[in-house]
């Protein structure tokens, strides 16, 4: 018995020693990742190659729902907890938790990042004086309108040209809806981000001269127009009016079920369209709808950011830099069917293994990137952009539901944005 006990003890001691040694030798990075499609899986595949090239390194991809990134991660970070790397969409808002990769990259690689991600590095920064490199855009998105081509053909209504305004598109979609007995002309995802291009097209500057967000005349025009489209039955009430608070709701199901002629969403829906809609009807992406001020879209996307709380900043920078290399980034874009934010990769072109329809759609979104108006870029890069987006969804939702007039919604929206920005500045 004595022998047995001492044997067990020796085995336990050996096990603990081996485990401890493994702990000392292993370098583990935890990557919190949400996915629109297969982003986390593709990142995981690339991470395996990183592990193979760096003995003793383990990259753990923790796949989480989008809600966890939006609602739980900021609280975790504020409490000093959280992963080493996270895939986020609130690019500027979480700036104070970011790890500046610059000192870990080395001069040559830092220049590579600055050259190739010149158009998006600002989105992560706190202010104009901030020159840090904080994250890698894993997905550059552009908003845009999906059109049910089959319904247009059945109605024998020509597609509006590239210069067509939102009003032209709504009129054409209404004609198609009437001719084909489709319940609604159009729908837009319930999101202030999606509403922003409509506002800018109708003259919204989004920011005043001091750089503070403002609900100006252009924004107000767009609000009134949007509420009227719902009142007149051009848009289904349940998308914006059927949900409470500032909750997001997309209108993909409505489009996929042939209940709307035009659907305003964004490039991240292409994969879903290709797999779920193509078999039902022909669809296409319309050029960015215009207004008196601009033909514009809203940029956006998700990014992998290093977090200050990590105990292995150099390894975080090394892994993100590995993802940012031309070959890996190109693979990430091709396999996830996303638009590259890497200028070099964009210039060289990405070969997407997709259907001709999806390819045409992606090309249409890429063409819209050049049209994006300055206020849309500024809004995307604004640290508190969600303080504009979320109240927009809430107040417009109330107006669409008939709870308040468009004018009252504008007043409340103005007050909400001012309150949020003031509180954030305290």
């Amino acid at each position: 018995m004595k022998f047995k006990l001492s044997g067990v003890c020796a085995a336990l001691a050996a096990g603990v020693t081996v485990l401890a040694a493994a702990q000392v030798g292993a370098q583990e990075l935890r990557v919190q990742c949400y996915s629109d499609g297969n982003e986390c899986e593709v990142t995981g595949d690339i991470a395996k190659r990183f592990e193979a090239a760096n003995a003793g390194v383990k990259i753990v991809i923790d796949k989480v729902p989008y809600k966890a990134v939006v609602e739980q991660l900021p609280v975790q970070l504020a409490a000093g907890e959280g992963p080493d790397i996270a895939r986020v969409t609130d690019l500027g808002g979480l700036n104070k938790y970011y790890l500046d990769l610059t000192p870990h990259l080395g001069a040559a690689r830092a220049k590579y990042w600055q050259d190739n991600f010149a158009s998006t590095l600002d989105w992560f920064r706190a202010n104009a004086a901030d020159k840090g490199i904080y994250g890698l855009m894993s997905q550059l998105t552009v908003t845009g309108a999906f059109v049910n081509k089959t319904l247009f053909e059945q109605a024998k209504v020509p597609m509006p040209p590239a210069t067509a305004t939102w009003d032209d598109w709504m009129a054409a979609a209404k004609k198609v809806a009437d001719a084909t007995k489709t319940p609604f002309a159009a729908a837009m995802d319930r999101s202030g981000h999606r509403f922003a291009p409509l506002a800018v097209a109708y003259g919204a500057r989004i920011f005043d001269d001091k750089g503070a967000p403002v609900v100006d005349a252009g924004y107000q025009t767009a609000v009134k127009k949007f509420v009227d489209w719902h009142k007149n039955g051009l848009m289904p009430k349940e998308v914006w009016g059927g949900v409470g608070g500032s909750q997001y709701r997309d209108a993909f199901e409505e489009f996929a079920n042939g209940r709307i002629v035009m659907y305003y969403s964004g490039s991240w829906q292409v994969k879903r369209m290709d797999t779920q809609v193509t078999k039902a009807f022909d669809w296409a992406v319309a050029p960015a709808p215009c207004g008196p001020a601009a033909c514009t879209a809203m940029p956006g996307g998700a990014a992998f950011v290093g977090l200050k709380r990590t105990k292995q900043p150099a390894l975080v920078a090394k892994f993100l830099d590995f993802l940012a290399t031309d070959a890996n980034y190109k693979e990430l874009m091709a396999r996830t069917e996303n638009i590259p934010a890497h200028l070099g990769v964009a210039k060289a072109g990405v070969t997407y293994n997709v259907s001709p329809g999806a390819k045409a759609a992606l090309n249409s979104f890429v063409a819209d990137v050049a049209k994006i108006a300055k206020p849309n870029y500024q809004l995307q890069g604004y640290r508190f952009n969600r303080a504009v987006f979320l109240p927009t969804a809430q107040r417009l939702g109330q107006a669409v539901a008939g709870e308040m007039s468009a004018d009252d919604a504008i007043k409340r929206l103005t007050a909400d944005i001012a309150e949020q920005v003031a509180a954030a500045s305290k």
Partner: protein, 306 residues
């Protein structure tokens, strides 16, 4: 020896007291602290003291009856929605639970089965309940499909404010009445059978037996059910949040959703305002609990007098 006997209860109570302290009293204290501090910082030490500013913001109203006149209109819409929901849901649910308990207490065929049927929804997760009903009630849902098949026009059950509130109350009653029915059923079974025999011998009508025997003896259980249901109604969140998201507009936004939205959903998280909202909610819950205590004490006093 005596002191060791005196310490024994503490020995058994301490683990529970520690858990209670950490997970109940400490959060209450933190909530109180947050309610009187401002800013967006999470750590208490980083938060500036603002006194009663958060409470004043929530209570800043032209008229409490008109949410549009309030600075935080959504909060007051949520207050009135919660009040409306609680009033209707509790009244109707207690009434239905009572009727169901009375029926299930009789010797009917398949009594065990029916008791199971009424209790079954209580076992379901609130999220599952909400998702099932959402599937039934959405525009392309089962209810509209059946309606259209028999010639009834399609209705937006969850996108019209009146209908949305109706269905929120209905679903909540469906999901919870089994629990309250069970409490009432236990109360009914505790009423001595000889009282009914005596009533029968006196040729009392069924209605008279109900009002003079059953209901008076069931009153303590009814009071418990009423207060429990009221407290639960005021705290309603998960089912409604999944079913309607608080919409259309803010037609089914309740106080707990306002607190959650203010504290956790917005980019700029106003923890102080959310904490002040939960403080006001706590006041309402304390009032309900005190009412329960008062009624049960009056009941006990009445019994002793008899």
């Amino acid at each position: 020896m005596k002191s060791s006997t005196a310490r024994t209860p503490w020995f058994f109570l301490t683990p529970n007291l520690v858990i209670f302290g950490v997970f109940t009293f400490l959060p209450i204290a933190i909530n109180l602290y947050y309610a009187f501090t401002g800013g967006v910082q999470l750590y208490p030490k980083d938060r500036p003291f603002v006194g009663t500013e958060n409470l004043a913001t929530l209570l800043d109203c032209g008229s409490y009856l008109d949410p549009a006149s309030c600075k935080k209109d959504i909060f007051w819409r949520a207050v009135w929605n919660t009040a409306q929901f609680s009033l209707f849901q509790v009244t109707v649910m207690v009434l239905f639970s009572l009727i169901t308990a009375l029926v299930l207490n009789r010797k009917i065929i398949g009594r065990g089965f029916w008791r199971g049927v009424y209790f079954y929804p209580v076992l379901l997760s609130p999220v599952v309940v909400a998702l099932i009903w959402k599937w039934i009630l959405q525009r392309e849902g089962v209810l509209n499909a059946v309606g259209v098949a028999v010639g009834v026009p399609q209705t937006l059950w969850l996108a019209e404010p009146g209908w949305a509130m109706f269905w929120v109350i209905f679903v909540s009653i469906w999901a919870h009445m089994g629990f309250y029915t069970l409490i009432l059923l236990a109360g009914l079974q505790a009423i001595p059978a000889d009282l009914y025999e005596a009533a029968q011998m006196d040729r009392a009508s069924p209605w008279r037996t109900l009002t003079r025997v059953t209901l008076p003896l069931l009153l303590p259980n009814l009071l418990v059910v009423l207060v429990l249901a009221a407290i639960k109604a005021v705290q309603t969140f998960d089912e409604v949040f999944v079913l309607t998201g608080g919409g259309p507009g803010s037609a089914t936004t309740f106080v707990v959703q306002f607190i959650y939205q203010t504290g956790f959903q917005e980019q700029v998280r106003l923890y102080g305002l959310a904490a002040a909202g939960s403080l006001l909610l706590a006041v309402a819950l304390i009032a309900l609990t005190l009412l329960q205590l008062k009624i049960s004490r009056a009941e006990e006093a009445g019994e002793r007098a008899r």
